[in-house]
Assembly symmetry: C2
Amino acid sequence: MTRVLIHLDRDAPEGLAAQVSAAIRRAVQSGQLAPGARLPGSRSLARELDVSRTTTVLAYEQLAAEGLVASKRGAGTFVATPTALTSPPRATGLSWRLSRRGEALASMPPPALRSAGPAVPFRIGAPALDRFPVARWFELARQRHQRVRASDLDYGEISGLRALREAIATHLLAARGTRCDPDEVVIVGGAQRGMELLFQTLLDPGDEVWMEEPGYTGAKSALRLAGAHAIPVPVDDDGLDVDAGIARAPKARLAFVTPSHQFPSAVTLNAERRRALLEWAHTRHAWIVEDDYDSEFTYASTPLPCLHGLDRHGRVAYLGTFSKSIFPALRLGFIVAPASYCQRLKPVRFASDIQPPFIDQATLADFIAGGHFERHLRRMRALYAERLEALRTAATKYCGRELVVRPVRAGMHAVGMLKVSAEHVARAAAVRGVEVMPLSFYYSSAATPLNGLVLGFSACRAEANARAMALLAECIETVSRGG
Amino acid sequence: MTRVLIHLDRDAPEGLAAQVSAAIRRAVQSGQLAPGARLPGSRSLARELDVSRTTTVLAYEQLAAEGLVASKRGAGTFVATPTALTSPPRATGLSWRLSRRGEALASMPPPALRSAGPAVPFRIGAPALDRFPVARWFELARQRHQRVRASDLDYGEISGLRALREAIATHLLAARGTRCDPDEVVIVGGAQRGMELLFQTLLDPGDEVWMEEPGYTGAKSALRLAGAHAIPVPVDDDGLDVDAGIARAPKARLAFVTPSHQFPSAVTLNAERRRALLEWAHTRHAWIVEDDYDSEFTYASTPLPCLHGLDRHGRVAYLGTFSKSIFPALRLGFIVAPASYCQRLKPVRFASDIQPPFIDQATLADFIAGGHFERHLRRMRALYAERLEALRTAATKYCGRELVVRPVRAGMHAVGMLKVSAEHVARAAAVRGVEVMPLSFYYSSAATPLNGLVLGFSACRAEANARAMALLAECIETVSRGG
């Protein structure tokens, strides 16, 4: 006879019979009690558990009603053989055939090839997470926890916590030179989610969109998700070639741009192109989605204000992220757009993620409003500037003229131009355990890619970056020798 | 001459000139310094701030380069009149014309009509948030915070934290009688977001879907988001009428169901219909999306296992939410589906919300694994059973035979059937400040709706529900008198 350990809690709101049947049910479902196993008689079980016999009889009756046990006259109670109403074994190795749309979406390439685990040199867009003031952050979270009200735990503002939207509006004015109202801010689960919402509501399937070439794979995926038709528009040393865009797709509905620090080429969109782009959007009633993903970190003496700040006609949707400035696992970002548009997004969010989580938003609002955000950004700006400088020094030291780091005004990565094939060097580097992306990875068209590597410099200490640069120099050497 | 308060931090990583220019920039951008305002001379500003004159000259040069200030020979330095490169005033009252798809999405009705603020009697699907063990939750969050590693702050598992997926798999076996592997679980930002992902990948635009009639508005919105064609299939006392579904749309690709506690009619799908539904899905290679939204709270002696647990052929996608069992502002839910499908969802999530936030997931995992979840559910089950009983008593006491509360086996709401028009009663109740939804709100077709009210009983104390019931009795009385 099989024995099952049954713990009874005489203070529990559930009755004893329910507890007995629950324990046996669990044992059956977990396989601890196999089909056909004999259970103790109701009388002896009652004695063993020190409960009335009514309790054990009721428990067995409940299990019999569920089809989990069966009594054989004179022989006792047994675990039933599975029937249609108990969990049967499911077919294994199941594979669902997705819809055509599902198939297309599931076949999208990953945004970048990166290893799991701690940050490595050259990783792109990865903040120095070991320098994040975790203690301060968690102290703010604790304070929020202490004064949380039952209504904070309920559904809240669809557009995001007002305190956070206010903090963002204040920050943007000081840091990015653009003025906006909290009603023009929508908090989303990361900038990528913001793109999804913008493209879903501003574009119809088949609509043409200017996409920077080379450009951000995440934006390309979001455009595919929306069924839009991305038209690659070349990026040169001055950023997106607006004239080329007009020539290739004058009727595009939208332009996706990273003007402060183009992803991945690291150039800045110049003032004249900014004006031309805004003019085009105004004239054609097109939209500009400005992804200002790492512009908090500016190294140039004259940072250009964001496009949103230059836009008189309200054609720019600004996308901000806290994945670079706070940490990626927070999953918070924001859209800045006209208030009437933010209002119209609400039904779409009701149908999907509804709203961002409360505690994360509240903690972030306190972090910004308390000046900790500005302080952290200032520290990281200085740190990243140092790491960029060290990267340049190491490049010169180890690679000489074989790898030329182009100047950058902002952000968390630079571009190193090569004489030998960047793809070959990247492949050789992978073999040596160095993760580095060739620019060619970010091209969609057959255009001849810039022959360079994207060199993230923010994630790791300068010494680690320098060591990786020394290895990279060896790879360049190997490739030049035709190895 | 205008004065601007400038605080200098001589220990800051930024230079003094940068600090001076930043302070003036902020004053210009915030409007504190108006266009044309005269700034102090570089020499007198240097004296006032106790810095070298080089510092103030550099600061002014930087601002001049940005176009924010201009010098007039012999007259001094002035705040520049806005040019194309400083933030101009934007057109106000902007309104964006959405795409056709965007327009359709933005025009979706809200999921329910509910007031803002604390929970009120009859509110549907609202947990007793004042009974949530906040202190325990926050203690677990604090413990997680203390042992957080830099890599926890980085991007993590796209499908959600493995510890949480394991905790969910264990919980589902014990609580819902279904067996699944952590690789068959995907953590999402709420069950609504789970629906979006399932519909997006399993359906093509125009695909037919069985939708319970009456049915959950949130699911209807998610189907619209996916461009699917919802076919209303009647629900009777035994749940979804599977034969009617087969007659109306035999080739539907998917059926959306709430078998444990139908939303909103509160009936349970009987065993025979469960088998028929599974059989149909198996034969037609259709999917069943089982939204098990509030089944943790069972009152019947024989709870039926979930459809997912009965499914031999793997046609069921199970949707779970923590909005009822933990709290809505957490924004976490999950999908259970074949592992190969969960794997294929990854590129779709890379293009949208990427992953859920780390700390929330980790805290929830600890809450479940530590047994706190089971304990909380047990307490809430007992509490809600009491509140349901009190609701019945109050209904009999105040409304007599005018409002008949139908039996429920599970969940957080019951249905009260009326003789007079439920819509009229709901409207009269709204006038008296009582929030209550008529069943008719949840119908999509011209079918004659069940004449009843949806009575949430979980959110408020029994006495508050009883008082609201007394008011409701007055409304019924008024409507019967034709008032």
